[in-house]
Structure formats: structure tokens, C-alpha cells
Amino acid sequence: MSRYRLMRYARRVGVYVAALGFVTFAAFPFYWMALTTFKQNKDLYVSATNLKHVPWIFNAAPTLAHLKLLFTQTAYPQWLLNTLLVVVAVVLITVVVAVPAGYSLARLAGGWGEGMGIGIFLTYLIPPTLLFIPFSRLVAILGLQDSLWSLVVVYPTFTIPFCTWLVMGFFRSVPWDLEEQAMIDGYSRLGVFFRVVLRFAVPGILTVVVFTFTLVMQEFIYALTFISSVDKMTVSLGVPVALVRGDVYHWGALMGAALITSIPMAIVYNLFMDRFVEGLTLGAVKG
């Protein structure tokens, strides 16, 4: 082998080793979730001081007992349902509000659209951790304490700014010809929006749906502040705070809940990652 080929070979191996290193760090907690979900308790609760018992693998036959416990004796199914309700409501509000707003900023607003768009995006930076204390008071005044409606009302405060920004970017990247043609054909400006734009905006709207879904799934602090009954919790609140019996964590069931919730999220997210990055890089990356 020539020196050149040897170097290329070494580089290839180096790339794989480095990539595997990063992937191991990123994926390790998920491996651990999966392993814990299916391990029997006698295999799970062995002190780490016992160096002969290897925790990285199954030392006893895998079991479905934790998942059975999760679905039959905990409120997890209820939390899934609650989360679904909140997601659907928030997605509806976000799409109805953010899609026209994004279109307006991209196509109709002209000069002030740019500044307004950045203004809306900046409100996304005002975090829930700054607002949850006044919200605890507002939610009490509105009589929404311990109700899923509090989340439905409050979550759009972060999904609308983010999704308006995404939609604005989406419409900017779509050529203007179609709308122009429709207007020449005699449609009004509003008619163009409803009959033409919404049709080719389906991928953009789908992106809004996906990111509203993931932002809602990620939320914790508002849910923790507003919701106190176990049967009204969402998944991302209930699993960490209410899946404890007495003082004992049921790690098998807990990791099962984390695993089951994570898998669909990961798949969906992976499909839409590129558009997300486009939205966040603020045009610093030119495609």
C-alpha cells in the first residue's frame, strides 16, 4: 500500500471512531432507558459496587412487567390523553394565528414586515422562567388553576412567535410566480391566499404542526406551576414528578414511559430538523 492510501485509510478509520464517540455520548441515555425498561428488578437493583454484575447487558431474561405496570397501574395513559388534547388545541390556535401572520410579514407588509418579524421572533426569547410567576397569578384570576385550559391558553405564547418566524421564512423561499399568475387570472389578494397559497403552503403548515407538537412536549415549568392534580398532568410533567410511589422511584416503569414517549418524537424530529435549523440560523447561513 502506498503512503497516500495508508493515510486515506487511517483517516477513514479516524472518522468512524470519532463519529461513534459522539453518537455514543448522544445515544447512551436512550440505550439506558431501553435496557432499564425491560430488565427484571433483580437485574436492575444491583449495587454498582458489585463489579462482577455487568449493568450494561441483560443478566436475566427481559421482562414486560414494567410496561404492564405503567399502563395498568399508573396515570400514564391519562397523561398521554391529556397531552394529546393540549397538543391538538395548541396546534389549532397556532396554525390559525401564525400562518396568516407569517404570510403577511413575508408578502404583504412590505418595509415594516422585516422589523416586525424580528420583533415577534425576539418575544420567543422571553422565557417561561421569567413569566411563570406572573402567570401563576393571572391563571388564578382567570379561574384556570389546575385545568388543562391554562396550558392551552398559555402555550401559544411561545409557539406563535416561533411558528410565525418559521412560516415567514417558508413563504420567502417560495417563488412568487404562482400568486402573481393567480392574481392576473382575476383572484383577489385574499382569494390568492385561500385558494392558492394555502395549497402550496402545506409543507410549511406541516412544519408548524410538528414544531408546535415538539415545543409543547418539551414544556415543563408552566405545567408544574399550574397543574397540581395527578390526573390532569401532561406526560412531561407526570412522568418525572408523579411516577413515584411513596419515596421510591419505579425506574423500570419510569424509563419505559420515557422510551415510549421519545421514539415517535425522535422520528418526527429527525424528518424536520433541516427546516428547524433554517428558521433558527436567522439567515446567517445562506442556502
Binding site: V15, T123, L125, T129, T157, S188, T281
Partner: protein, 308 residues
């Protein structure tokens, strides 16, 4: 990609459905109203509350001027939380930038299995953060920690590490989890930025005999600076304002030593019912947000003007 041309001029028509400037405002109004009412009002209320002695559950309160601020500033727990927030935010950004740039260099190369590896690399960013933190809590468990087992078997650990039971290790654990959560996101952003490096410049440098490090520091990194800045600015916001990681991992303990501003604000404001003090603590996040906002505005303006 931006459009080289805007809407073309059409003969003016007078119906509502054709008046662009009016239509623009009507379509934008719901979004602006929603945000103005439900972000603007709470934000102002947060500032007002921080000057009051409001307590949860009662509707009456009176103004107390700066006494909440005076109280928290003289409170060692608060100063510790502020310091922790700065330490964690800075440490996480430094580590994330290094890791993400390195990972992007690796994942730029074409290799078999890249798609599936990319899927795994992005997992931390996709899953609900609270569920991932529970996995880490279990990984750092005081009795069953797989980290300790592995270090012991490798012969690197002789005593025992109580990850979530000591102030220093607790902070390290918090930093590890935050880095884990943010570096995939930063990697993707840096990867996107790499496409903007002009290949002819890189090739010219190779022809001129520039080695790997020289190319990295003198050509590629300067081109990557804007995207890396974006990643860092978002990272600052996501780290400094995050509450769930610390709340679930250490709960601010042991003995309130690992609190950050959001968890302390929650403890005082919601659990301790002292809304005024909680609001004052949370408002100390504003400097972090201002840094991020100003940085992003500058980048948005620069990219508008067309320079890299």
C-alpha cells in the same frame, strides 16, 4: 434564499380583499395581539411584582420598593444561584462549541451509515427534556450509577462518586446534561454553516501548503464564526433560562448549593409563595437575554446587508 424581486405593481382595486396594507395588518393582528397580551402583560406584571410583597393566594399587596432586590442580593443562596447560572452557562457554551465544531468536522465527511448515525446524534434534542433528565438522574444514581461501575471496572475510580449529593459533582452533572442536550443542535447549525465556506478558498490554501490546523484556524473558523455565534446565543438562552434540568436532577441540593436562578425563583415564588421575591430573582435572567437578543439583532442585520 431571498427573492430578487418583490410583489409587482398591479392596477389598484378597491375592495377589502385587495387592499394589501390593510390585509397585511388584519392577518398579522391576531398574532401581535396574542403576544402583546399574553407575553407583554405578564412581563410588565413580573416587573411590578418584583417591587411588591405579593404572596400567592391573596389578591392584595403593597409596594415595597427595592426591598425584594435588597433581600435577594444579601442572600448567600441567591448569590450562589447567580454564580452557578453564570458558571453553568459559560462552561456549557465553551464545551458545546468545541464538541459541536469537532462533531461537524466529522459529520461533514461522507461515510457509510451516516444517516443512521445522524439520527442517533440528534436524539438528545428531540426527546422531551424532562424525560431525558430522568434517565440521567438514574444514570447518576447514588447506589446504582453505571458511570461509577464503569469507572471502577476501568480502574479509574477508587472511592465512590455521589454525583448528585455533592455541590461540585452536582454542578458537573448539570453541565454534562446541558452539554449533552445542546451539542447535537449546535452541531447541526455548524454543519449548515460549513456549506457557506467557499471551497475555492480552501483549495487554494491546500495548494499553498496550509496544513490542517492552519486551515481550521485561519480559514474555516472565521467563516464559521456567524453560525457558531448563533449557536452560542441560543445556547445562552436555553441554558440560563432552563429550569427542568436542575429541578429534576439535583433539586438545587445538596443544601441549596446547586440552584440556578430559575429553580430558586420557583422555590421562593411558587413553593415558598413569595411572588415578589420570586419575580425579583427571575428578573436577574434579563442580562443573559439581552446579550442574546442584541447579538441576534446584529447578526440578522448583517445577513440582511449581505456580508457573511
Amino acid at each position: 434564499m431571498r427573492l430578487p424581486f418583490g410583489p409587482i405593481e398591479l392596477p389598484p382595486r378597491e375592495t377589502f380583499a385587495d387592499r394589501e396594507s390593510l390585509l397585511a395588518k388584519v392577518m398579522l393582528a391576531p398574532a401581535v395581539l396574542y403576544v402583546a397580551v399574553l407575553v407583554g402583560i405578564p412581563f410588565v406584571l413580573a416587573i411590578l411584582l418584583s417591587f411588591s410583597n405579593a404572596r400567592a393566594g391573596s389578591l392584595s399587596f403593597s409596594w415595597v420598593g427595592l426591598s425584594n432586590y435588597a433581600a435577594v442580593l444579601s442572600d448567600p443562596t441567591f448569590r450562589r444561584a447567580l454564580l452557578n447560572t453564570v458558571i453553568v452557562t459559560v462552561a456549557v457554551q465553551v464545551l458545546v462549541v468545541i464538541l459541536a465544531t469537532a462533531a461537524a468536522m466529522v459529520f461533514r465527511a461522507a461515510f457509510v451509515g451516516k444517516r443512521i448515525m445522524r439520527f442517533f446524534l440528534l436524539l438528545p434534542w428531540a426527546v422531551p427534556i424532562t424525560l431525558a433528565v430522568m434517565a440521567w438522574t438514574w444514570i447518576f444514581d447514588s447506589t446504582f450509577s453505571v458511570v461509577n461501575w464503569t469507572l471502577k471496572v476501568a480502574g479509574l475510580l477508587h472511592g465512590w462518586l455521589y454525583w448528585l449529593g455533592s455541590p461540585t459533582l452536582g454542578l458537573i452533572a448539570i453541565i454534562i446534561v446541558q452539554v449533552w442536550r445542546l451539542f447535537p443542535f449546535a452541531t447541526v447549525i455548524v454543519l449548515a454553516g460549513m456549506t457557506s465556506i467557499p471551497q475555492d478558498v480552501v483549495e487554494a490554501a491546500i495548494m499553498d501548503g496550509a496544513g490542517f490546523w492552519r486551515r481550521l484556524f485561519q480559514i474555516e473558523l472565521p467563516f464559521l464564526l456567524p453560525v457558531v455565534t448563533v449557536a452560542v446565543l441560543f445556547g445562552i438562552v436555553y441554558t440560563a433560562t432552563n429550569m427542568s434540568v436542575v429541578y429534576l436532577l439535583t433539586g438545587g441540593g445538596p443544601a441549596d448549593s446547586t440552584h440556578v436562578l430559575p429553580t430558586l425563583a420557583f422555590q421562593r415564588g411558587i413553593e415558598g409563595l413569595d411572588l415578589g421575591q420570586g419575580a425579583a430573582i427571575a428578573l436577574f435572567l434579563l442580562p443573559f437575554l439581552l446579550v442574546a437578543a442584541i447579538g441576534m439583532l446584529r447578526i440578522a442585520r448583517r445577513s440582511e446587508m449581505g456580508s457573511p
